[in-house]
C-alpha cells in the first residue's frame, strides 16, 4: 500500500532528470515557447512531488481535490492580472471627442 523506498528513489531520479532537461533547454534561445516549456517541465515535477512524495496516489481523492482547487484558482488569478498589465496601453480605436464639462456644483467655502 505504501510506496517502497525504490519508488521514492525513482521519483527523485525523474525529478533530477527533468531538472537536467530544464537546465539544458535554458541554454538554448527558444523565446516564448521556451517559457511555456520550462513551466510545463516545472509542472510535471510538481506533479511528481505531489503524487509520490506527498502520497496523493495512496490517499483519499479529497486531498487531491483540495490541491486542484487551489491550483485552478492560482492560474485564474495570475492569468487575469497579467492579462491586464500585459495589455496596458493597447488602445481600442479612436477616443470620442471631449464633451463640454457641466456647471460645477456650488460648494460652500471650505475651511
Amino acid at each position: 500500500m505504501h510506496p517502497s523506498p525504490r519508488s521514492y528513489v525513482a521519483t527523485w531520479a525523474a525529478l533530477m532528470l527533468l531538472s537536467g532537461i530544464t537546465l539544458a533547454l535554458a541554454r538554448v534561445p527558444l523565446g516564448e515557447p521556451g517559457t511555456v516549456l520550462a513551466l510545463g517541465l516545472a509542472s510535471a515535477k510538481a506533479l511528481l512531488i505531489a503524487v509520490f512524495f506527498m502520497h496523493l496516489i495512496e490517499q483519499r481523492s479529497v486531498n487531491a481535490l483540495f490541491l486542484s482547487i487551489a491550483l485552478v484558482l492560482v492560474l485564474a488569478f495570475v492569468a487575469l492580472s497579467a492579462m491586464d498589465v500585459g495589455t496596458r496601453g493597447d488602445a481600442v480605436g479612436e477616443l470620442p471627442a471631449p464633451v463640454a464639462a457641466p456647471e460645477p456644483a456650488r460648494l460652500s467655502k471650505v475651511r
Binding site: 527523485w12 535554458a26 512524495f53 487551489a70
Partner: protein, 214 residues
C-alpha cells in the same frame, strides 16, 4: 468486539486513529493550499511585470547565478527524497533510521540556506539591493529594479519558509528519537513532510522564474 484501551494519542472526539489522521492530513492540505495562494500573489506580480517589462526581465535573469540556482534545486529535491524516506522508516517501525534521514533532510535544507546566503552576499557586493537601495550600474532600468525586488521578496519569503521548516523538522526529529512516534502513530512526521515537499514545490517554480528564463 473486545473493549480495547484507546490509543494514547486518540482524541476523544474522533472515532479512531485512522479518522483522526485523515482529518489532520486534510487540514494540512488546506494550509498548504493557503500557502500556494500566498506565493501566487507574488507570482501574479512576477507574471504581470514580466509581461510589462519583457526584455528587461530576460536580461536580468542573466545576472543571477545559473549554477548556484541549479545546485539549490538539486539540494532541495534530494532533501525531499530524504524526507520521504524518513516517513517511510517511521511507518516501518524504525525510528532511528527515520531520525537519520530527518537529519539528512535538515542538513540539506541548511546547505540550501548557506548557498542562498552566499548568493545574496555576491549580489550585495555588486550593488544589487531591493527597492530604493538598488545600485547596480549594469542594469539601471526600473524594470530591473522590480525584477530584483521581486527576486529578494520571493526567494526571501521562500527562505523564511525553509527556516520555519527546519525548525519543525528539528522538533519532529527530536520527538522521533524519543520514540514518541511509531508505526501506529506518526502524523506529525507526515504533516512535516507535506510542508517540506511544498517548500520544494515552490522552489521548482521560483527556479525558472529567476534563473532560467533568459
Amino acid at each position: 468486539m473486545t473493549t480495547a484501551v484507546p490509543h494514547p494519542r486518540l482524541q476523544p472526539h474522533f472515532e479512531d486513529l485512522a479518522k483522526q489522521a485523515h482529518a489532520a492530513r486534510l487540514g494540512m492540505w488546506l494550509f498548504l493550499a493557503s500557502e500556494l495562494l500566498l506565493f501566487s500573489a507574488l507570482f501574479a506580480l512576477y507574471a504581470s511585470y514580466r509581461a510589462g517589462h519583457h526584455d528587461v526581465f530576460r536580461e536580468a535573469v542573466h545576472h543571477t547565478s545559473f549554477w548556484l540556482g541549479a545546485a539549490m534545486t538539486g539540494i532541495l529535491i534530494t532533501s525531499s527524497l530524504a524526507m520521504a524516506l524518513a516517513l517511510h522508516a517511521v511507518r516501518d517501525g524504525r525510528p532511528d533510521r527515520s531520525v537519520r534521514w530527518l537529519c539528512a533532510c535538515i542538513g540539506l535544507g541548511a546547505l540550501f540556506l548557506v548557498v542562498k546566503a552566499f548568493e545574496y552576499t555576491e549580489h550585495f557586493r555588486e550593488g544589487i539591493f531591493p527597492g530604493i537601495y538598488y545600485a547596480y550600474p549594469e542594469l539601471p532600468h526600473p524594470g530591473a529594479v522590480v525584477f530584483f525586488t521581486l527576486y529578494y521578496l520571493m526567494t526571501g519569503l521562500h527562505a523564511v519558509h525553509v527556516i520555519g521548516g527546519l525548525n519543525v523538522l528539528g522538533s519532529v526529529a527530536r520527538s522521533t528519537g524519543r520514540r514518541r512516534y511509531d508505526a501506529t502513530y506518526h502524523t506529525p512526521v507526515e504533516l512535516a513532510g507535506l510542508y517540506w515537499h511544498l517548500v520544494d514545490m515552490i522552489w521548482i517554480f521560483l527556479w525558472p522564474a529567476f534563473y532560467l528564463l533568459r
